[in-house]
Each structure stands twice: as structure tokens, then as C-alpha cells.
């Protein structure tokens, strides 16, 4: 508690409000997408980040454009927190030409290298390895940049976790591994597929620091990520951060929500909603008043609505472009 207090007083009002705004933006964009899905505007699958906003927000607040983020199937929040424009994100999820990748891939294939976002992914695991490579590249060049991997508790049982983190640790690569432990992989509870006491505790066996933190507390995330990123930039190597968090909606949009978890569990977590609890804290601290909050909320809603609107109005991709960029160089096509 004291440590958290310490951390929040070191942040400026602007920083605090930025954290809140980012979370609000993510929440609102996700809600637009949920509505679009219900309306039939989303041609494929989509995994919502609602409930987990503090993680992407707290981590990405520290990142420069050149720092490279590699994300998961549940990556809208990471994309937005790293700076992807909401309309480019939503248009992509709708499969539209003005999406960040021209509608080619949708939700699980969002890329925006211009802001250092190297992709959501339909395959669980590789984000860990590719981020390790970004760290290798930084070290090879002697730059100060870091690679960041987001991944779920489910990915922590994948060989990519072991192989990637071991190499980063061995060679002190500037990488931050952010595990979003939301207790389930699809509908499989973590405790049924591992006896691991925690994801963070696996770090010691690989010789790097591992911390488990409250992923619903954006300041706790911000602090832990800040330390890890600073450590990485100093050349001292990688850190594994396990963020305890929770998704509110079904594993994928449109999936039934029964059986594997209780309504009480969901309610319990919703009481600790990362946005609400941060808002309450800021109100209590007198950082802003409720009116200012309403304005922020309105602004996020408006941005998200405009983005969804933009996306809906975007043209479809031209079928003739289907075979573009199979190779990056036209002469090989």
C-alpha cells in the first residue's frame, strides 16, 4: 500500500489523467466493437479486452515509438495503448480497406509499425519470441529500445515461454515479458493444467526477476513496468511481470458464458474494475472532480463512436490486392 502511494505521488496530474484516458479509450472502443459484433458488422472472431485495460495502459505509458510491442489474440487494448489510431483498429476488425492492414487479417492481425506495434496474433506463444528478437536487435545495435511481449496465462505453458525467456535472460536482452493472468485459457482454468504456484515464480528457474502484481491497479502496473523497462534500458536484462487480471466477457465474442466460472466470480472482479477504482482513487486524491471525469468519459466515447463510424463507412478492400505483399518486394511477386 505504501509503495503504491509512493508511486502515485511521483506522477504528474497529466500522467495520471493520461492513464485514465487510455483506459477509457480502450473500454469505449471495445464497447463499440461489441455493439458492432451484435449488429453483424464484424465478419470474424474477436477477443475483448474489457476488464484488463490497466495492464496495457500501465505498461505502454512508458514506451517510446521505437520500443516494439508484440501482442496476442486479445490485443485491441495493446494496440490502442501503443498508439494505433482507434479508427484504423476498428476498421481492420471490420475487415475494411482503411483498417491498419487493409482488412486483410482482422482482430488477430493488427499491425502498425509506425507506432512500434508489431502485431496481434492468432497463434498463442510467438509474441514472446518475437519480442525477444526485438530485444536482440536493440542490443546488437546498442540502442536503448526495448521489446515488450504481452501474453496470457495460457501462453505461459507453451514452450515459447521457456525458450524465449531463457535466451533473453542468458544474454541480458532488453525485453519485458508481461503475462496477463486472467485465470483461464479459453475455458480451461490455469490450476487444472499446471501445478505451478504462479507464473512469476517460474522466473527464478530461468535466472531473471519475476514479480506478480495486481493487474487491476493501473499504478501498480505502471510502477512495475517502469522499473522493468528502466532495468532493460540500463542493459541489466529482462523482467517477467505477472499481472493478475480478469476478462469480463466470454473468451471470444459470441461464445456462450457458462459452466467454467461463476457469476459471483465475475461480479467479484467487476467490483475491482480498473477504471472505476482508479477514478475513485483520483477523486479521493482530489486530482480532479467528477465533472472533469465525465468530460474525459465523454471524450473517449466520442472518439470511439467516431472511429466506429469511420470504420463502417470505409470501403471494402479491392479483391485485386489479395496477392500484394506476399513478398515484400514487388519483383518477387
Amino acid at each position: 500500500m505504501n509503495r503504491k502511494k509512493d508511486h502515485e505521488v511521483t506522477l504528474t496530474k497529466e500522467q495520471l489523467l493520461n492513464l485514465l484516458s487510455t483506459m477509457l479509450l480502450i473500454r469505449n472502443c471495445e464497447e463499440q466493437l461489441v455493439k458492432s459484433y451484435a449488429r453483424g458488422d464484424i465478419p470474424g472472431g474477436m477477443h475483448m479486452y474489457i476488464g484488463e485495460e490497466a495492464v496495457a495502459t500501465g505498461v505502454c505509458a512508458h514506451l517510446k515509438v521505437e520500443d516494439a510491442v508484440f501482442s496476442t489474440h486479445r490485443g485491441h487494448g495493446h494496440a490502442l495503448a501503443k498508439g494505433m489510431k482507434p479508427e484504423r483498429m476498428i476498421a481492420e476488425v471490420m475487415g475494411k480497406a482503411l483498417g491498419c492492414c487493409g482488412g486483410r487479417g482482422g482482430s488477430m492481425h493488427l499491425f502498425e509499425p509506425s507506432v512500434g506495434f508489431y502485431g496481434t496474433s492468432g497463434i498463442v506463444g510467438p509474441s514472446i519470441l518475437l519480442a525477444t528478437g526485438a530485444g536482440y536487435k536493440a542490443k546488437l545495435q546498442g540502442s536503448e529500445y526495448v521489446g515488450v511481449a504481452f501474453f496470457g496465462d495460457g501462453a505461459s505453458n507453451n514452450g515459447a515461454f521457456h525458450e524465449g525467456i531463457n535466451m533473453a535472460s542468458a544474454w541480458s536482452l532488453p525485453v519485458v515479458y508481461v503475462c496477463e493472468n486472467n485465470l483461464y485459457a479459453t475455458e480451461v482454468p490455469l490450476r487444472t493444467i499446471t501445478k505451478s504456484p504462479s507464473v512469476a515464480e517460474r522466473a527464478s528457474g530461468l535466472g531473471l526477476p519475476g514479480v506478480q502484481i495486481d493487474g487491476q491497479d493501473v499504478l501498480a502496473v505502471h510502477k512495475a513496468a517502469g522499473e522493468a523497462i528502466a532495468r532493460a534500458r540500463r542493459g541489466e536484462g529482462p523482467t517477467l511481470i505477472e499481472c493478475l487480471t480478469y476478462r469480463y466477457r466470454a473468451h471470444a465474442e459470441g461464445m456462450r458464458e457458462t459452466g467454467y466460472r461463476t457469476a459471483e466470480e465475475i461480479e467479484k472482479w467487476k467490483k475491482r474494475d480498473p477504471i472505476n477504482s482508479f477514478k475513485e482513487r483520483l477523486l479521493a486524491m482530489g486530482t480532479f472532480d467528477s465533472q472533469e471525469f465525465v468530460a474525459l468519459e465523454q471524450s473517449a466515447l466520442q472518439t470511439a463512436e467516431q472511429a466506429a463510424d469511420f470504420a463502417r463507412k470505409s470501403p471494402w478492400p479491392d479483391p485485386k490486392t489479395l496477392t500484394d505483399y506476399v513478398f515484400s518486394e514487388a519483383q518477387h511477386a
Binding site: 482488412g103 492468432g122 505453458n157 493444467i193
Partner: protein
């Protein structure tokens, strides 16, 4: 005979075999209480319990290797990968261990193992749409099964579950809800027997997996133009029933192979090469292939529309081939 879907028929086959053989078990992510992403195991967890319906971590390579080991020791594991794309992380051990252990051990070890996964494009984008039939056809030691109709799904899965060698069982997402008559109880369909699903005399079309359905639609349309098309569903790609294809060719003298998967070194390349080798003098025109374009699977509907051969495209290809 009852009407049922492909997936229900396959599940009936699995259930019957699991009743019969206590050493059959299924592993995968969400194949326990959830019943499988594609409903492949609905109801089985309640019936057979966790040791026979094992929800796994996201360790595709790991649980595939686990199943290879269990198979070597005499169990009959089924790996339910959901999407074939996830199976690719396990290819090393599928190739180096599963497909070769019988041979390497000089016949002392058997690997009765079924690897099943969904293939094909269905609004699924570049990471959930791979087919890669030919990867498995290329390798000695594997059976490759790609049924289209419910009765075949049941019969071939039952055969797979009695086979003493690894079987790659590929289920196109677009056939999973196809309905058809399925005989009750015992139904065993041998590997290596193609089905002439529509007889004809002007042109032979071999469809790979779901493409059989599009080929049938095309045949219907061509019939109206007075063109009689024979459509063949190979059902198993390894072993491949070339005889049935050659027999058809000796009637039609023209062959079109339709495959949604990539063309180079694909199933169609093999069928074309073998037909040339064994039926060259029957051919009135070159064997033609119709494949998806050489690009990853797109997500956006207008892109998908051109990424997958459909009845229209098949009609066009057939007309061109007949004009040669």
C-alpha cells in the same frame, strides 16, 4: 439411417470406439467439459471422465509428444487441435517421431494415433485457415483423411481409431455442418477408396475436401449447359485411390483438380503427376488444377470471395478445359 451433421456423425463414431476400447483418449484445449471448439466431444467428458477427455495447456508440441509416447505404449490417443494451424508447432515430432517410429524400430513399435484439426478458409484469416494436405501426403508413414460427408466422417474416423499407424484427420470448417444420412452402429470405411459422388462422361473433377461440394454445385450448373461432369471425392489423400480417378479418366479423358489449398506441390500436383504417369495416353488435354491464389488466407469477405474457388470459378475452369 438418420440425418445428422458431419460433426455429429464423427462424434458418434468416436463415442462408439471409445465405448469399445478403453485405451482411446482425447486431448486438446477445451475438449473436456466444454465439448470442443467445434463440438467434436460434446457430452463425452460427462461419460468418460477426465482421463479420457483431457483438457490440456496450450502446449501443442508437448501434448502431441505425450500422445506419441502413450501410443507407443499401446494407448490410442486422439489429439484434437481445433485448428490445423496449431498443429504446426508439433510438426517436428509428428515427422521425426510419429511418422517414423514404426519404421525406425523395424516394426517393433506401433503408433496408433489420430491427429485431427479443422482446415480451410471460413472468415478465419491467416492464422486459422491452413489446410496443408500435401505436407502430410509427402511423408511416409502417415494416413491422410479428409472426409466431406457425414457417413464418411463417421466411418473413416472409426477406421482411423482402429488403425495402428498415425492418421491425420482433417475436417474442413465448411463441411462440419453438412447434413447427410448416416447408418446406425457399425460403419467402417476403408482407407484408399474414393467415391464417385456424381457420375458423368465429359469431364472428371476431383475435389479436395470441401471443394467436392463446390464441384457438385458446378456440375449441376454445367449439366444445364449440356456438360456431363463426373465428380470424385477421394476421401483419403493417403493412400490415394488413383484407380478410381484413372477409371473415370478413361471415360472422360479430361481431368480438373480443385483444391482450396496452395497450388505448388499441393495435392493437385501429385494427382496430376500420377495421372500423367499412369494415364498419359488417355488424356485429351493437360490435367488442370484450380487452386486458391498463392497468398495467405484473408479475413475480409470480399477478399475471401476470391481466395476460395467456388462453383462459378469451377464452371469457368471446366469450360476452358473442355475447349482445349
Amino acid at each position: 439411417m438418420r440425418e445428422m451433421t458431419f460433426t455429429d456423425a464423427a462424434r458418434e463414431g468416436l463415442t462408439e470406439e471409445m465405448e469399445r476400447d478403453p485405451l482411446i483418449f482425447v486431448v486438446g484445449e477445451g475438449i473436456g467439459a466444454r465439448g470442443g471448439n467445434f463440438n467434436t466431444t460434446v457430452g463425452l467428458y460427462e461419460r468418460f471422465g477426465e482421463w479420457r477427455l483431457r483438457d490440456t495447456p496450450i502446449s501443442e508440441r508437448g501434448f502431441t509428444g505425450l500422445c506419441i509416447g502413450a501410443a507407443v505404449l499401446g494407448a490410442r490417443p486422439v489429439v484434437d487441435f481445433m485448428f490445423l494451424d496449431f498443429e504446426l508447432d508439433a510438426l517436428g515430432d509428428i515427422i521425426n517421431q510419429a511418422s517414423r517410429l514404426s519404421w525406425m524400430s523395424n516394426g517393433q513399435v506401433k503408433v496408433p494415433l489420430v491427429l485431427r484439426g479443422g482446415v480451410g478458409i471460413a472468415a478465419t484469416g491467416p492464422h486459422h485457415s491452413s489446410s496443408l494436405y500435401s505436407f502430410f501426403m509427402h511423408l511416409p508413414g502417415l494416413h491422410v483423411v479428409a472426409p466431406v460427408f457425414p457417413a464418411d466422417a463417421k466411418g473413416l474416423l472409426k477406421t482411423a481409431l482402429r488403425c495402428n499407424d498415425p492418421v491425420i484427420f482433417l475436417e474442413h470448417k465448411k463441411v462440419m455442418k453438412i447434413k447427410g444420412n448416416v447408418p446406425e452402429g457399425e460403419l467402417s470405411i476403408p482407407f484408399g477408396k474414393a467415391n464417385v459422388v456424381r457420375p458423368g462422361k465429359d469431364l472428371t473433377i476431383v475435389g479436395i475436401s470441401y471443394m467436392v461440394v463446390e464441384a457438385l454445385n458446378a456440375a449441376e450448373a454445367l449439366e444445364k449447359q449440356g456438360i456431363s461432369v463426373e465428380v470424385i471425392d477421394p476421401r483419403t489423400l493417403a493412400p490415394l485411390d488413383l484407380e478410381t480417378i484413372l477409371e473415370s479418366l478413361s471415360k472422360t479423358h479430361r481431368l480438373l483438380i480443385v483444391d482450396e489449398d496452395f497450388s505448388p506441390c499441393g495435392a493437385g500436383a501429385e494427382i496430376a503427376a500420377r495421372v500423367m504417369e499412369q494415364g498419359f495416353y488417355e488424356l485429351d488435354a493437360p490435367v488442370r488444377r484450380l487452386n486458391g491464389p498463392f497468398a495467405p488466407a484473408p479475413y475480409s469477405p470480399p477478399l475471401e470471395a476470391v481466395a476460395v474457388p467456388n462453383a462459378q470459378a469451377i464452371v469457368r475452369a471446366a469450360q476452358m478445359l473442355l475447349a482445349e
